[in-house]
Structure formats: structure tokens, C-alpha cells
Amino acid sequence: MGKPSRRQFLKLIGATGAALMVGRGGASASEEHQVNNDTLGMLYDATKCVGCKACMSACKRVNSDYGSLSYEKATFDSDGLWDAPEDLSGSTRTLIKLFKESDKEWSYVKYSCMHCQKPSCVSVCPVSAMTRDKITGIVDYNKNTCIGCRYCQVACAFNIPKFQWEKAIPQIVKCDLCKNTNMVRKGITACAETCPVGAIMFGKRKDLLDEAKKRLAENPGRYVNHIYGEKELGGTNHLYLSAMPFKKLGLPVLKHEAPAEFSEKIQHTIYKGFIAPVALYSTLCFIAVKNMKKGRASEDEEQALKNSEQKKTETEHGEDVE
């Protein structure tokens, strides 16, 4: 093994490692991403919710054509009169669940897209089918661009995007704040419009935060003293208030840093200005061409010696190829 070439080889590995180390260091030193509180969102107050599921049926009624949602039959309902989704799915964008700890302690909870300030699904989508509107903050999905790779599902810490597994022409299904349906016609989401007890409040993030803080201050002891979504994963536009610990309602305990910040930092460090790949390519070209020339030179010498010998063998061997 020649020493110089092994050194070059190790350098190659070392360079990649160094790039990654820089990426790690850079992640903490970089500027924080900006939270835009003028964007739209919803505040769900679990203590107000009565579990009537009117929001669920309104959502499906309004969005079924645009979002290609269908009614989900239950096994107990042989006549098929009941829309009974078990969970968020390829046909259901929002869902009410009941968490019951004891006869006295229970809470409803509503699931739908959290509309993150720095959404993982948007960060990972390879063809920009997932987008976040800069002005409204709505995380939207475009089925006409989507290739169906389902990376958004892998990325989402809340497991929100759902895929239509049973369809030959499937798509991703998730809440888009009725962007193309109820919002156009009435300027409000269907679920917030329908809720009979005001458990879902629709508005700008800053107003929702103010309202949530007000409720926490005015009703000591009624809530867990935490606005879920204010800081989680860099902030979400769907906010929660609850009397029960959020973890019990299926809302995971999460860090304040958005996962996309970290992954993008590493990806950007490696591919900054495409310098590293170009540098790698040119270095490798340089080495390879040099090696080839070296090889040719020694080959030529041998060739000169063998030339006469080869002429004889050529006639004997012929070619193996058809």
C-alpha cells in the first residue's frame, strides 16, 4: 500500500467529518428563526369542548370534494349511516378523542395539523408540494406536485400528514385551515365556525396567545399552566389549553428547537454554494488523471518490449467476442 494515496484517501473521509463538525457547531451559534405572530391559527380549549364532533362533520362536509375525503364506515354499522373514523386518516383531517382517566377526570382533545412556524414537512418535501404561506402561515399541500414519497409523514413529530393507502391514485391528507374552501367563502375555518361552545377560536396567532394568557390568568386552577404550541418545535399556530397534562392527551413533550433547523444546518453546511462537491470532483479528477498518465507511461515502456511478442499471439488467440 502506497503511503501518499492512503493519506489522500483518509483526507477525503476527514474532510467530510470536518464539514459535519462545523455543521454541529454552527447549529447552536446561528440566528434564531423568527416567529411571525401575524399568521393565522386556532386555539382549542379542551375545558370548553363538549365532544359533540360537529367540527369533524363540518370539516368533512366542506372539504370532501377539494380534499378527496370520504366517509369511513364502522364495522358495527352495517347500513353505513355513520361516519366513524378511528383516527386521523386519508379521509379525515380533524378528529375529536376522549381521554378518560377516571369518572371525574377526563378531557376531550382535537387533533389536526399544528401549522408549525418552521414545519418539518415543508423542509423535507423534495418537490415543494408542502408549502408554508409567508403571510397567512398556512401549511398547505399541493397534490398536483406531490410525488407521494411520504417523507412528510416520517418528518412530522405530531404524525399529522396521512396517506390514502387504499387508493390507486392516493394523496396526502392534512388540515389546510380550509384555505381553498370555507376560508374563501366565509373567512373562517369550518370547525371554528361550527363549534357551538366556542372551544375553537380562529384568528391571528398574537390574538390567540393573548386570549390564552388571559384565560390562564383569569381562571387559576382551571388549566395546566402551559400553552401547548407556544414554544414547541419553534412554535405552532394551532394552540392548546387543557386541564389535563398534554402528554396524556396524545400531545408529545417536545423541545423548543424545530428539528428542521438542525437538519437543514447540516445539509447546508455540506452543500454550501455547492463548493464541497465541486472541490471533491476536481480533486478526484486531478488525482485520477495523474494516475492514468503515470499508468500510460509505464504501459508504453512495457508495450515497446512486448510489441513483437504480441503480434504473434494476436493471430493465435483471435477474439472471444461474437
Binding site: 502506497g2 492512503r6 473521509i13 467530510t16 459535519l20 454541529r24 418539518s120 423542509s123 423535507v124 418535501c125 423534495p126 418537490v127 415543494s128 408540494a129 397534490k143 398536483n144 406536485t145 406531490c146 410525488i147 407521494g148 414519497c149 417523507y151 409523514q153 416520517v154 413529530a157 396521512k162 396517506f163 390514502q164 393507502w165 387504499e166 387508493k167 390507486a168 391514485i169 392516493p170 394523496q171 408529545p252 417536545l254 428539528p259 428542521a260 438542525f262 437538519s263 447540516i266 445539509q267 455540506i270 452543500y271 462537491p277 471533491l280 470532483y281 478526484l284 479528477c285 488525482i287 485520477a288 488523471v289 494516475n291 492514468m292 499508468g295 477474439e319 472471444d320 467476442v321 461474437e322
Partner: protein, 424 residues
Amino acid sequence: MSHDEYQTYRAKILTPSFVVLLVLTLIGFALIAVRFIKGIGAVSNMNDGYPWGIWITYDVATGTAIACGGYAMAILIYIRNRMHYHPMIRSAILTSMFGYGLAGFSVMVDVGRPWNAYNFFIPSKWQANSAMFEVAVCVMAYTTVLLLEFLPTVLTALEKTQWKTLQLLLDMVYSRMGMERPERIGDRLDKVKDLAAWLKPRLDKVLIFIIVLGITLPTMHQSSLGSLLLIASTKLHPLWYTGFLPLLFLINCMFIGYSIAILESVISCYAFKRPFETRELSGIARIIPWLTIIWLSVVIGDLAWRGQLAAAVSFDFYSRFFLLEFCLVAGGSLLMFSGKKRESIRWLFVSAALIVLGGALYRFNVYLIGFNPGKGWHYFPALAELLITVGIVAFEILGYQVIVKILPVLPKLHTRQQLDAEKA
């Protein structure tokens, strides 16, 4: 870099293994048809918690690593200037070509809306933040590069062909139809030959730049295959979730690449009853332990730094898989450190197999076993899902078997014996 270091392996194409592989391939492709007619759910157990199943984990993430033989051998030959391995490059490139081509094909089976894939070519849709975008573009580019790298083999064959089989076939067709064979067919065939002869020296001149591109691209996307999981900080188990994922995946594909080159050579020499290439293989085997040592040290160092060493030896579900992966790679490398074992084909085979298994298990751990989307989600591949993967792998082996029998891919025997004699 002469083209006469290779020869066509002359043997019957219709062997029993051909039939078995063909049947498996047909079953796989029939199930793929079902998937396109009835949807992914009809053949697969994938679900909203585990949106990536065996197709992405094996066919793409692991399959491309196993297809890194061409990449690893190209580094060895062209960058580290070990020209005496050159006779082994064509079979390595051929397997890489099948591995990558079929990984791309699997992706098209796996994605839900493949007809939208043209968006990868529309700049306004590009999404540089996405590791998936980088992987997709690189894999497409690399598959093209592999085709170009393999082109000289086809051209050499075309240049020298007498069109014997085709002539026979044409004669048969025309005699059946009771007609004379028109002259112009022969002229056209000659034109193809001329074109091949014209193209070959021109391609040879730029080939080195294509080959180097074929080294750069896997370096990029193999690391990005690791980056893909960087976003899943809440789902991937801490034993595997680390900022070093890209680096670990890169080194991992290199040692898998060299090990698979050894396995491939041993298996094909055994199957085609050719003498084993012991000298070359033990040379390759000397490199592997160095790579695995770097890899294992990064793994251990990173675990120690993140305070996960205790979790690694806790012997719970995750820890067991981690230890298994670790021991397979470490065990194989220990065997390869011994100079005596490296001279034995049997030990070479065993140690390379251990390393490939361990390296592949690492990728399974990251993509599937260590991936936990939360309570209530389970995944184990369905039979139909597995059969599709089996069908694709069978097609890969089938293609290799057939192509080495019609094109000059395998190293020419007398040149190798000459080489051995020169060295001795």
C-alpha cells in the same frame, strides 16, 4: 486500461437457476401490477406511522449500499491507483448498475404519485433543504453515469460482433415467410458496428471524467441517505439518532462496497467454476478493517459523547439490535486483520459476509428497527410486499447471470494468470 482484459463467459443461458429466478421475478412483477391497480395498501403493511417499509429500507437504503461495489472499486483503482484490480471493475459496475437502476425502479413502485416525478426536473420545484431531493437527483445522475461506464463493454462487443445469433434469427424469419433477406439489413447492421467503433475511442477519452463523477455522486448521496433521518429527532432511537448520520452512512457504504466486491467475486467464481481471485481479494480485504475501525470509533465516540453508552448495553430491544450490528461488523473486521485468514477464500467469504450483514443491519436499524413513531404503531412487511422485493432482487441476479454470458464482463483468465506469474 485496455479493453481486452475481459472475456464473455461462454455457457448455457437457460440453466435451472435461470428458471427459478425468472419465476420469482414474474411473481414480483405481477404483485407490482396489483399495487398499481389497487393501491399500496393492497400489497403492503405500511401505515401512517411507518410510511417507509421494506421497499425503502432494503431496496433503496440498503440495496444502494450493496451496489456500492462499483464505487468502492473505482476509488481503489482510479484514485488509489491500483491498476491491477482493473480486470474486476466491469463486474462491479454491472452489479452497481443493476442495484441502482432497480433501487430507482423500487422508488417508483413505492411512491404514491410517480407520474409527478417530472417535478424533479423543474427548477421552481427544487427544494434544496430536502435530503430526499439531493438523494433523488444524485441517484438518477449516478444511474446514468453507471450506464455510461458500462457502455464501453457494450461497444466492444458491438464492434467485434458478427451478428451470428441475429443473422440466424433473421434467416429463420425470412425463410418462414418465404422471402429473400433484403440487402439493406446487412448494411444497417454494418452501420451500427461502424458507429460503435467510432464512438468507442471518443468515449474512452472522456471516460475518466465520467468515472470520477461516478465517485463523487455516491459520496454525496450515500451521506444524504443518512441525512434523510436527521429530521426524525423525536422518532429515531437515540442509539442511532446523531448528527454524524451522514458520515456514518458514507463510511458504511464504503466497507459494504469492498466486502460485497469480495462476496461477488467468490460467488461468481464458484458458480461459474472459475479459479478464485484470491490474490486480489486478500488485497481488498486489507483495506476493509481500516474503514470499519474508523466507523466503529465514530459510533462509540459519538455514543459516549451523547451519554448513550449505558443504553447501548442495556440489552433491551434496541440495544440487542445495536449490539448485533456492532458485533457483526467488529467480528468480520477482526477476522480480516489476520493475514493468514485473508489468504483463505473460505475466511474471506465469511468475514466479508459478516461485515455486509452488520453494515446492512445498521441501515435497517436506522430506517426501520430504531424508528418509533409513537404508541400504537406497528409494522412488519406483508408477504406480497416481501415478494416484490424478492422479485426485484431475483431480477438483479438474473440480469447479471445473463449479461456476463453475452458481454465481455468477467476478467480474462489468461491475463490474470499472467499477472500472478509476473508478481510471483
